[in-house]
Symmetry: C2
Subunit: 197 residues, 2 copies
DNA sequence: TAAAAGTCTTAAACTAGTTCATTTTTTTTC
DNA sequence: GAAAAAAAATGAACTAGTTTAAGACTTTTA
């Protein structure tokens, strides 16, 4: 069958861990919803229940919370070929504490909670897909959970630049500061210093 | 069949997410290895390849790395009914950066990498078990990955005390400092301050 | 294309957390 | 159960990162 570019992208992503028959591919695609968001628009806001988990086929989004003082803390930037959403709210059906906002025009494929549950019943192989996907995410979050605690801000910045060179140039310095966990002023100092070296 | 207390504990843990037949239970138990470690002994050291993932049936252990200055950074405390190990090294078969040391006499059930792979072939339901287990761990690590960045040391301490009251009294203040990401001196100050309030 | 809004830079005064040194208290070991 | 070792407390001097404020630069919008 003939798939759109976005559908081919998600099928390739899935085929990293499991093999699907042509019929299974079609079934899977039929369970997904296309979503588009313009720059600065929200995919989701705090207080809502996360209805979907998303695969990004184009663009860039930031996932963040606001603290009591209204200051944003960015927990991830998501670009093409990445998954995003609020897994906690998606699973528990409790209101989310997260905002997801597009930093560029973005296109996504979403799977609803009903279709996610259905997927495991219709194509049990997807248990394996998600087992491996979550395992890999878990490994990177376990590593990351100590960064804020054991590295200086400058080290965290250098790590980020090294690990996500494709992202650094697509986001503002201010958003990067909110991800690194420092003020925009101190981010500016770090960048000036690092460039001087 | 009659199971040991430790075996009953792990079967109950597994049955939170999947149902096993009597035969499957016996098969699963047969794939596990019993391990005991005395206080201050290592379950694993940096440089080794993580041969097992462990379920703790008794005791308490700390999982940590050493930084360039030789200072420890504890990434988790593991007690009864928890899973531990270095998932990254276990999966990639690359040398681990972690030490796992018993802070009390501890007893564990380990599954080797060969048996872990075999398990999915023999009882595919375990894909579901690990999918859900990793999903839940992922949710808590996603939440935690921002703590070091967005909370003060005092807030992190209060969070830990609230979330793991059973653990606080079993570990030293020094180890807690290495987990919170501060010096033992500052940990002491925080505790004095919090107790005064 | 001009005005408005947002982003980045610089600098001075401040605060959370570190470092180093010493003493007291608790735990371990023989 | 005494001696040794480790953990905890306290305090003074220090540093990484914050706050506030103001000006320069860049992007968005009408």
């Amino acid at each position: 069958m003939n798939y759109k570019a976005s559908q081919t992208l998600i099928l390739n992503n899935v085929s990293r861990f499991i093999d699907l028959t042509e019929l299974e591919k079609q079934k899977y695609i039929s369970l997904l919803t296309e979503v588009k968001v313009e720059k600065k628009d929200f995919l989701m806001q705090a207080g809502e229940i996360a209805k979907y988990e998303y695969f990004i086929t184009k663009g860039c989004l930031k996932v963040y919370t606001l603290d009591e003082d209204g200051a944003p803390h960015i927990s991830m930037f998501a670009i093409e070929d990445y998954w995003t959403g609020d897994l906690s709210s998606f699973m528990t059906k409790e209101p989310s504490r997260y905002y997801i906002k597009a930093t560029e025009h973005s296109e996504l494929l979403g799977i609803s909670r009903e279709n996610y549950d259905l997927l495991f019943r219709e194509i049990p192989k997807f248990e394996r897909f998600y087992r491996i996907l979550y395992q890999k995410s878990l490994i990177s979050y376990i590593r990351r959970s100590n960064y804020g605690i054991s590295l200086t801000a400058e080290e965290r910045y250098l790590e980020f630049k090294k690990k996500y060179p494709q992202i650094v140039n697509r986001i503002t310095q201010k958003d990067l500061a909110a991800y690194i966990g420092i003020t925009p002023e101190f981010m500016s100092k770090i960048i000036t210093k690092v460039n001087r070296m």
